[in-house]
């Protein structure tokens, strides 16, 4: 038997799964307030001489001005997702909250009770099993992987993976401390707020849906990005060795992606859309160029970039971008979409999925 580096389901190991997890809905909520990179950089305490827009491609991001927090962002996104899917929340078996930030009632981080329980009650699903997942910016895709296992095996029928990230506070904190481009808090300046939700439900084996989810943690790099409350700043601060993370991600991702493609019998050119974690447009383009070099071919379309408008919205980036593509009519039923997770840990994951006509049509486009 071939062993894979990634933790993932492989055909031939155990009985075939009786069901597929189909994506029944994808929703998001973005705060109204736009903060441009110029405005953010004008707020730094020190003269930093950093051209953040050139470095990251971020022109602006959406931020809560204190009127929204992790809970309200998550709840709004969940309701948006359920409304799009025309799904009664009372039929949810499970609600999994996957955010890094758990701010509810301003900048108060709730460790207990769970954020998922509060969200479930807030959206009208008080009966649902609830728990929180914490896996940095890979949180939502980790939640999807957990739920996918359960749906495929018939343990649950329907579940919501949700996240609300009120994380721009870290950016404001960093603006008070950053002195130059070598600062370990530079990555904080990419952070922005958003809520996102994905609804997965049971479908017959062979249906469109999640084809495969594979994950690994390259733990030798676990200390390259750490976030915690520190000193006299509200919320938290985050310290990142971005250069080392990018180097590791670029070196390790091609092997892992090829494991996924081999497992499902696809080539890189069979993938229609690639949605990576959104940290910087430059990093995404560089990573994809390296990937193309390694595979000798490219996916059908250029990697999706939303970081220029929405910044790095932590665990919600993939869903925020997926909804963007659906609303723009760029994803057709049957298209193969690869979501690539890259997060502090170092977490690397690939979720391969296909969306069906029923879902795509909910975004106002018929193909």
């Amino acid at each position: 038997m071939t062993r894979h580096w990634l933790v993932m389901e492989t055909a031939g190991e155990g009985p075939p799964a009786p069901f597929v997890a189909r994506v029944a809905g994808a929703g998001r909520h973005l705060p109204e307030t736009r903060l441009t990179t110029d405005e953010l950089m004008a707020s730094t305490r020190h003269r930093t001489h950093i051209d953040l827009q050139r470095l990251t491609g971020i022109r602006e991001r959406r931020v809560s001005v204190g009127d929204e927090d992790s809970y309200s962002l998550a709840t709004s996104a969940a309701l948006n997702c359920l409304a799009t899917a025309r799904q009664d929340p009372a039929a949810l078996d499970v609600v999994i909250s996957c955010s890094i930030t758990k701010f509810r009632g301003g900048l108060t981080q709730w460790l207990e009770p769970t954020m998922s329980g509060a969200i479930a009650r807030g959206i009208g699903a008080p009966q649902a099993m609830t728990f929180d997942v914490s896996n940095a910016c890979a949180g939502m895709l980790t939640g999807v992987t957990i739920l996918n296992n359960w749906i495929r095996q018939g343990i649950v029928e329907r579940g919501l993976v949700v996240s609300g990230e009120y994380i721009s506070q870290l950016s404001h904190n960093a603006a008070r401390h950053i002195r130059n481009i070598m600062s370990k808090e530079l990555a904080c300046l990419t952070l922005a707020d958003a809520g996102a939700a994905l609804l997965l439900e049971r479908a017959p084996a062979g249906s469109a849906g999640l084809a495969l989810a594979g994950f690994t943690t390259v733990a030798d790099y676990s200390r390259l990005c750490l976030a915690y409350p520190q000193g006299h700043d509200p919320g938290a601060r985050m310290f990142t060795n971005s250069r080392a993370i990018q180097k590791a991600a670029i070196a390790d991702t091609p092997l892992l992606l090829s494991e996924v493609l081999d497992t499902v019998g696809l080539s890189i050119h069979d993938i229609d859309h690639v949605i990576t974690h959104q940290t910087s447009a430059r990093a995404i383009r560089k990573g994809m160029a390296r990937m193309s070099e390694s595979f000798g071919d490219t996916p059908r379309h250029d990697a999706v970039i939303t970081v220029d408008r929405y910044g790095n919205t932590a665990s919600t980036t993939h869903t925020v971008a997926l909804v963007e593509e659906l609303e723009a009519g760029r994803i057709a039923p049957g298209d193969k979409v690869a979501l690539l997770a890259l997060a502090s840990g170092l977490e690397i994951g690939v979720v391969l999925l296909t969306l069906d006509e029923e879902l795509v049509s909910r975004y106002g486009h018929r193909h």
Binding site: L6, T10, E112, V133, T217, A227
Partner: protein, 293 residues
């Protein structure tokens, strides 16, 4: 057919670990693996259910740091070998039961062969907390799949009605120019927990057409005597039938400690009922048929 627990590991708190949930988790995990004769590299999955940790760390998942420190395939991916996937879950004192259910999903799909559930809590100290109510403790459960008629059943969950934040809560809030971890709970917390736990236990037993009388041992969390007595009363069983951790102040590690304390002498085929209740109020229960040792 199901998920079985091969070994329980517990961390005895040492003075230098009193403020480090990471050290406690690593000690418990290492002890568990050593006693099971399992190399850390054999692990495919690490799920950490602990909550209170060093520096109130927000990211990465503590599980990733645990993975690195126990040496479970921390290196760059390479062909022909397998890696380890690590992440955290949080569900208060129910976290270990949630983690077991998650591990069961990965084992059932054969995505992993060996998984480790870890949970630890410690007062972050250094002015970062106020009146921390829990003992420094850590635990680990080494899990695998069996095709024989043993292991974990499905988990039944219940959520109590009422004000979810009042019964028991923990927050990190900004006051007087610093972030501080604070706790609050109502005087009737144990009664609320016991009521939800009893409901989950009955739902679990009913769903599997079993009878409470056929259960040999109830393994429960949290470990407080008031909760145990109230739960015994509601279920109509003698309190001795409910195993809880020796240390009543243990938090997320309490379920594993209760299992270690009560199930050591149970024969193969004995029926255990896991019951956990936590903030929310939420409670879960699962039957577990003890495998041959």
């Amino acid at each position: 057919m199901g998920t079985v627990i091969d070994r329980v590991g517990l961390a005895c708190p040492r003075w230098r670990d009193r403020h480090s949930a990471l050290h406690l988790a690593v000690t418990a995990a290492s002890d568990c693996l050593r006693r099971a004769g399992c190399d850390a590299d054999e692990l495919d999955l690490i799920v950490n259910a602990g909550i209170y940790r060093d520096r109130n760390l927000g990211e990465p998942a503590l599980a990733a740091l645990i993975q690195q420190d126990i040496g479970a395939n921390p290196e760059d991916p390479h062909a022909g070998a397998h890696g380890t996937f690590s992440f955290d879950v949080a569900n208060g004192a129910c976290g270990m039961l949630t983690a077991l259910q998650i591990v069961d999903g990965f084992l059932r799909t054969r995505s992993v062969r060996r998984a480790l559930v870890v949970a630890s809590d410690a007062d972050p100290g250094h002015g970062m907390s106020e009146r921390f109510p829990f003992s420094a403790a850590g635990a680990a459960l080494l899990c695998r799949w069996t095709d024989d008629d043993y292991g974990l059943s499905g988990v039944s969950w219940t959520n109590a009605d009422g004000d979810s934040d009042e019964t028991c809560s923990a927050t990190v809030g900004f006051a007087d120019s610093r972030n501080v971890l604070r706790f609050d709970h109502s005087a009737t917390m144990d009664e609320h927990f016991a009521a939800a736990a009893a409901e989950a236990a009955r739902a679990c037993v009913d769903a599997r057409s079993a009878r409470l009388a056929d259960v040999d041992l109830i393994v429960a969390a949290p470990a407080r005597p008031g909760y145990r007595t109230a739960l015994a009363g509601l279920l109509g069983v003698p309190p001795e039938k409910i195993s809880v951790a020796r240390d009543q102040h243990m938090h997320t590690a309490a379920l594993a400690a209760a299992l270690e304390r009560g199930a050591a002498d149970l024969p193969a085929g004995a029926q255990v009922l896991f019951v956990a209740a936590g903030a929310g109020v939420t409670a879960g229960a699962a039957l577990y048929k003890v495998p041959p040792s």
